[in-house]
């Protein structure tokens, strides 16, 4: 989902009344980032609090190579690699699981491409496109309703007993985009908008349940997404990154800046906006903090504990690193973003019609060659120029000052970095 997909972030059709209300009752982050411009590495980072280059969800066998989007879907994280028993979520801290070790691509033919199973805990309860039908022609599927019902049931069960952690990872806005019958055709934005409306409606029902159970003021809720809108699927199945450049797969703002809302009545004051630079990895660290725990000490953690920002309005200095594969493409610090490498996709792919930046073309920036700017990074001021259209003059004092600050942070990061074993250098349909 893209930064610009919610009414409260400026989507012109304004079809997310529940998320907009969640923002009005809580805190909105305009400067919040995924950990990667692709779904699976970003979600692996969410669950580990660590950049993909640390947790292994990346490749080393091609420069700036994204983990193939077609190979790992939104649920890929829960197993990290492979569907084998040792990667099952119940082996990794979850007490219950409803979902799939992969996304709803397909339908698969069960030969070259195995079909994707759906599990309840250890038990396989069916397959996408079979027991869980998705009509690729009409876009009709009940999956969001099923996930919603599972979540409502889970919350009801847990609320009677003890504190709980729920990771509600819907994938309706991930192409092939779907919605259930009552939502199909209801959006001004086409099928993608139908999917957003159904997710928005579901969030409304989840928050309502927390109120009904009288646990709203004891439940921290955070809404965000794992990468920017996939403009390759626009207009019918792609979303909006608002005023930002490009989309999913890229390390421009459109690829990684995300909608992000925090809600905790009685704790987080209503109607706030925090300009804290935030990351999806912070949800790991913040969740631990809420549970009175600290991150593991045997490894570096990239996530920040956001509670000071959420509860006391602190603004904490921190960088945002934008990786593709093993390549640090860009770094944001404060309002300045430095691009060390620029690339959208190859000329070859672009000429085949694969366009990550449709309608956008910033000379020397949205390049189709992998351009090396490491010696003289392109620097943008994201306040004056959120669309990354006007690089600062290399000769300006502002450029020199920003470069010096960012270089120092990047050096520190790279000196301390212990890359994880890359787990995705081999990637084929069988791995899926």
């Amino acid at each position: 989902m893209g930064w610009g997909d919610l009414g409260v972030y400026g989507e012109p059709s304004r079809e997310t009344p529940n998320l907009d209300r969640m923002a009005a009752e809580g805190m909105l982050f305009p400067n919040f980032y995924s950990a990667n411009p692709l779904c699976s590495p970003s979600r692996a980072a969410l669950l580990t609090g660590r950049l993909p280059i640390r947790n292994g969800f990346y490749t080393t066998n091609a420069h700036a190579r994204n983990v193939e989007g077609r190979s790992w879907g939104p649920e890929g994280h829960v197993r990290h690699l492979g569907h084998r028993p040792q990667f099952h979520p119940l082996k990794h801290g979850f007490d219950e699981w409803f979902g799939s070790p992969n996304c709803h691509f397909g339908p698969y033919d069960n030969k070259a491409r195995p079909n994707i199973p759906v599990y309840r805990d250890w038990e396989m309860v069916g397959r996408y496109y079979e027991e869980f039908p998705i009509n690729l022609k009409t876009g009709e599927a009940n999956l969001t309703q099923i996930y919603l019902q599972e979540a409502l049931d889970f919350i009801k069960r847990q609320a009677r007993r003890h504190p709980f952690f729920l990771y509600w990872a819907v994938d309706a806005t991930h192409a092939p985009v779907y919605a259930s019958k009552p939502f199909l055709g209801t959006s001004q934005r086409g099928r993608y908008g139908d999917a957003v409306r159904e997710i928005d409606d579901s969030i409304g029902k989840l928050l309502e349940l927390l109120h009904d159970l009288h646990i709203a003021d004891n439940t921290f809720v955070f809404f965000t997404s794992d990468n920017g809108a996939a403009l390759i699927s626009a207009p019918e199945q792609g979303g909006s990154n608002g005023p930002f450049l490009c989309g999913k797969q890229t390390t421009f703002e459109g690829g990684m800046r995300e909608p992000a809302l925090a809600w905790w009545p009685g704790h987080i004051a209503a109607g706030q906006v925090s300009h804290q630079l935030g990351s999806i990895m912070d949800l790991f660290t913040t969740s631990l903090a809420l549970a009175g725990l600290t991150p593991p000490r045997d490894r570096a953690t990239d996530g920040l504990n956001l509670l000071p920002a959420l509860l006391q309005g602190w603004l904490m200095d921190r960088p945002v690193f934008y990786y593709r594969g093993d390549t640090l493409m860009a770094t944001t610090l404060g309002q300045h973003k430095a691009h060390f490498w620029t690339w959208t996709n190859s000329w070859e792919n672009f000429r085949q019609g694969i366009d990550f930046c449709p309608g956008q073309n910033v000379s020397g920036v949205t390049t189709h060659n992998l351009e090396d700017h490491t010696k003289l990074p392109l620097i943008f001021h994201l306040g004056r120029d959120p669309g990354e259209r006007f690089p600062l003059s290399f000769a300006s004092a502002e450029y020199q000052e920003a470069l010096s600050r960012i270089t120092s942070v990047v050096q520190q990061h790279q000196e301390a970095l212990v890359p994880g074993q890359p787990q995705l250098n081999v990637c084929n349909w069988a791995v899926m």
Copy 2:
């Protein structure tokens, strides 16, 4: 000012708390349009309720020629043409006037380019850059504060006596952009953001005064702008058109879609969004309706009375016409927009670095030749594709249906159209 310049429309820095509150307390229009992609014709249309092609604020001596931006500024409307006594605002229905017959371009040299006077009613009280200084280097000027004080004084005087109409036409976001010292350097968005912040702060003070005088529930307030953000002045002095294509001077959405907020406590319910297609010309008709008057019957009026939308939530079917000079470039009806002509600017100007669409390039759409699509218009669905990036397939049923509806409305419009005498075919500095 651009559609994307307010926090409530998604500006990432969220620096317009007063306008955002005005929206939360009133009604927000995401689909509201100026009457022209340039300031002066748009403002002439605001004051007459009529398209520039009807009221004469256009040219016929070059195809799709915009009235030269450098020749008429935001206050140009008040005299329509010339500074001669018969065009003085007090001769045209205003009882009081503080302002200038032109904008703050300059400074002028009083020879080839006469300096621009500032008036209080019939009396000239000084000149821009002399008695009303503007520091072009630092951007410092007290003009917004002066206009604010004039407006506060006017309201205080009027409120004791009788109903009043105030047209508060600030120009701080029009290049050369300015702000007063307390606001300079306070925005994350540079000087343009400083100007927006000062306007926002002023709106807050105006609304506060209405409350203090206990006339808030008896005063209808509307905020909008006369054209999209001038991206030619970006990043330092240009604003944001959010997700929309191009900016000022063009008939893409970025050139004419505007922020628009209506506020009338006790009458307009809080927190509403209206998808009514609205126009700055509606302010003429709506103001008349509020005063119990109807538009003149001796001429056609383009403005709609918005009160049914504002008070009863009606959605009224109406087209939006996008003109450049005497050329109908595009028409929107419902969610569909048909482009009969596409043009940004000439190759010659573009090669000189004048770019109305920086970073944006939609093949066959953001053209530098004036492209004739009258036989087969380009049609976009603005809900699925607000950025005008993906023209509908000519062969689709949706295209055929939309074309048929729009063609019928355009024929009706053109058959009934009685063009005004074009007043701007001759345009030089002396006319200013």
